[in-house]
């Protein structure tokens, strides 16, 4: 036993002895290594920078470069994909019309804020874009927005609905209808239509956006004097809701309000109908997707949501968009992520046209800020003085597997 121990000590001393003697060589080696690394970086930089034109080179004929930061891979890739599809469709149409030419540069943020920061920096400093669309999540926008704002590049979220986003700075916009405008509309409509007295609330508590929606629901209910008899939470990607719903069922609420993405919302609806909760469900933006009906099936009937995007609208522009989208993407019905992204690019196009530039970021920003009476597929649109969107939402209810207007 002692022998073994001794050998360990001896070994250690040997190691340390070596360590002392090699210290000098070490530093030398590291200096060399760092130099090589720096050299590599420089070459990489030159390679990337060579193709990028200087930012202040004001040439009208060139295509305006617009960077897109989207959640294209990972758990929320469905949202990023819809956004990309909407943007691509809009880009093709705009370029075909020929008033302005737009080039889109996509970067993937994988739903992570450090990735979003890197992506924003890359687009601004390496690709020299004139403006940015994205990122997909509000949390990413809180990290990437200030970067763009500092650099003086307009950035527009198409799906960032949390409170406080345009407050990040003068260059930060969004064309997503924020929760605090849309949700109260749906909740109040449901209260008056169904004469609600006591309701249960459920939300996904690890999703920033869903929590923000929940807070709006709560304050709207309080304002209208409706009693909240239960508040239950779950997490994104949860699959088992039986415990929460059993509890809610035993309290017999007049309605259930849910704030979550469509996947969780659909599973909640399915389980709720299965255990016999038949009351209406009011949702936040997550309910506003054809996927909800696809996953939940007949269980989705009776779900209520307020949305600026309503595929059933008898508007020529909307119907054309749906037809084109279906033709391009394998008969897929566009959801609001696609619709809002589609509108966002048109907003950029009209601002670019008005500003008469494809490279001046400040001029573009000023042109976006003054947009009024813009007619998009999500309705009439303007920015208020705080760069918040001014738009109308329609309260929808799902009936027989279709979104219809709740009257």
């Amino acid at each position: 036993m002692t022998n073994i121990n001794l050998s360990i000590i001896k070994h250690k001393h040997n190691k340390d002895g070596v360590f002392v003697t090699m210290k000098k060589g070490f530093i030398k080696k590291w200096v060399t290594g760092l130099t090589i690394g720096a050299l590599l970086l420089t070459t990489a930089g030159c390679g990337g920078g060579g193709t990028a034109p200087a930012a202040n080179n004001d040439s009208k004929g060139e295509a305006a470069k617009i960077g897109v930061i989207a959640y294209l891979t990972g758990g929320g890739a469905a949202y990023g994909t819809a956004i990309k599809e909407g943007l691509d469709l809009a880009k093709d149409e705009i370029n075909a019309q020929g008033k302005v030419q737009i080039e889109l540069i996509y970067t993937d943020s994988r739903g992570e804020k450090t990735e979003a920061i890197n992506a924003a920096n890359k687009l601004i400093n390496k690709d020299n874009v004139v403006g940015i669309i994205g990122p997909t999540l509000s949390g990413e926008m809180f990290a990437a927005g200030p970067i763009a704002n500092q650099a003086g590049v307009p950035i527009m979220g198409t799906s960032t609905t949390a409170e406080g986003i345009p407050a990040l700075g003068d260059f930060v916009f969004r064309n997503a209808l924020p929760e605090f405008l849309a949700v109260p509309q749906a909740v109040e409509k449901a209260i008056s239509t169904y004469d609600l007295k006591k309701v249960a609330v459920m939300y996904s508590n690890n999703n920033d956006w869903a929590v923000s929606g929940y807070k709006t629901i709560e304050s709207t209910l309080k304002k209208n004097g409706v009693e909240i008899i239960a508040t239950e939470t779950f997490a994104d990607k949860d699959t088992d809701y039986s415990a929460q719903l059993t509890k809610i069922a035993s309290l017999k609420p007049d309605a259930v309000m849910v704030s979550s993405l469509y996947q969780e919302a659909a599973l909640v609806l399915k389980k709720a109908r299965e255990i016999g909760i038949t009351v209406p469900f009011v949702g936040t933006n997550g309910f506003n997707s054809p996927e909800l009906i696809k996953i939940a099936g007949p269980a989705a009937d009776g779900a209520i949501v307020a949305s600026p995007w309503f595929p059933g609208k008898a508007d020529e522009k909307v119907q054309k968009f749906i037809a084109d989208y279906k033709a391009k993407y394998n008969n897929k019905v566009p959801d609001q992520f696609a619709a809002q992204a589609y509108d966002a690019l048109y907003l950029y196009a009209s601002a670019l046209e008005q500003a008469g530039t494809t490279t001046d970021r400040q001029k573009l920003r000023d042109a976006i800020a003054t947009i009024k009476d813009f007619q998009g597929v999500t309705g009439k649109f303007a920015f208020d003085e705080n760069r918040e969107p001014v738009m109308n939402a329609t309260v929808l209810i799902i009936k027989d597997g279709q979104f219809t207007e709740l009257k």
Binding site: T73, G74, G75, G76, A77, A78, N205, E232, T233, F234, A235, K237, D238, T239, D240, S242, A243, Q244, T246, K247, S250, Q263, L267, K270, E274, I275, G276, E291, I295
Partner: protein, 292 residues
């Protein structure tokens, strides 16, 4: 409501038990934690789903298909990620890290192959409901409960009574001695990994059926829960895995029913931190001596 919640807890718990059984088998024989078990479970669920959706096979055929695929996947993992480590004298943490690697690989592969959206089985099995007094129970819930208990008893019987089972137990005791006794330990290890992974595959289909959702990240959350059950019940202890799973399921459901649902996800790990400090061998583990 109490009885209904108890049933909810039991159903949830039995899915945890099913997942934990796989962990425990591998832990018992190889003395490692297979961090990729949750992902093998997820792949099993997808295989079952695709068999039912595109080949329109019977659900039990789908389960068999999922089992075979998962078992093969387990064997592949054993060959690629575990066997090379056994040959070398490496730190006991190496297999843990290696299986974390397999887990990340499989999850990302599934995301690329199947997409991030959750998909549902097209069957109406979950919709078949029964009212027993104050309790409403679905057919799937009954199947899950039945299957997990059934599998546990079969497994116990098989391990204690059959020749192969005895060989597995011998290998679990001591690999060198088992080798000396003329047992082909490599074959036994292969068999164990295949068995554990196959069980994971079946569990995947059952869980996918009962919650009506199959998606690539389900492996991670389920795997972490299974891991908690493994520690809770005692490593390498089949009864422990079974009862530990049920205890965890009931504890989670009751946290929601009578406490705050937002702390639900902390229950599993709060419990194992507690158990590790008070009784590191687990609720049903013995401090020393034979496994299983």
């Amino acid at each position: 409501m109490f009885w209904q919640q108890l049933v909810n807890g039991l159903t949830l718990g039995s899915t945890y038990s099913l997942v934990a059984l796989g962990y425990t088998l591998i832990m018992g024989v190889l003395n490692i934690i297979n961090m990729a078990h949750g992902e093998i479970f997820m792949i099993g669920a997808f295989v079952g789903l695709y068999l039912v959706t595109y080949f329109e096979v019977n659900i039990f055929v789908a389960m068999a298909g999922a089992m075979v695929t998962s078992a093969l996947l387990g064997c592949l993992m054993e060959t690629v990620a575990l066997r090379p480590l056994r040959r070398k004298a490496v730190s006991h943490l190496a297999p843990l890290i290696s299986t974390i690697g397999v887990a990340i690989f499989l999850e990302s592969l599934a995301l690329n192959l199947f997409g991030p959206q959750s998909q549902a089985f097209p069957t109406e099995l979950a919709a078949v409901q029964m009212q027993l007094g104050p309790i409403r129970i679905s057919l799937v819930q009954i199947i899950i409960l039945g299957m997990s208990f059934g599998l546990m008893f079969v497994l116990r019987f098989w391990l204690s009574k059959t020749r192969v089972g005895k060989a597995i137990r011998t290998t679990a005791e001591n690999i060198e001695t088992a080798n000396l006794l003329g047992i082909n330990t490599n074959k036994i290890i292969f068999l164990t990994v295949a068995l554990a992974s196959g069980l994971g595959g079946i569990a995947g289909v059952l869980v996918g059926l009962s919650f009506n959702a199959v998606e690539p990240t389900m492996g991670l959350s389920m795997g972490l829960k299974g891991l908690a059950v493994l520690i809770l019940g005692g490593m390498g202890n089949i009864t422990g895995a079974m009862l530990g799973g049920l205890i965890l399921g009931i504890a989670e459901v009751f946290t929601v029913a009578y406490g705050a649902s937002s702390y639900r996800d902390a229950v599993a790990f709060g419990m194992i931190i507690l158990i590790l400090f008070i009784r590191p061998q687990g609720l049903f583990g013995k401090r020393q001596g034979g496994r299983f």
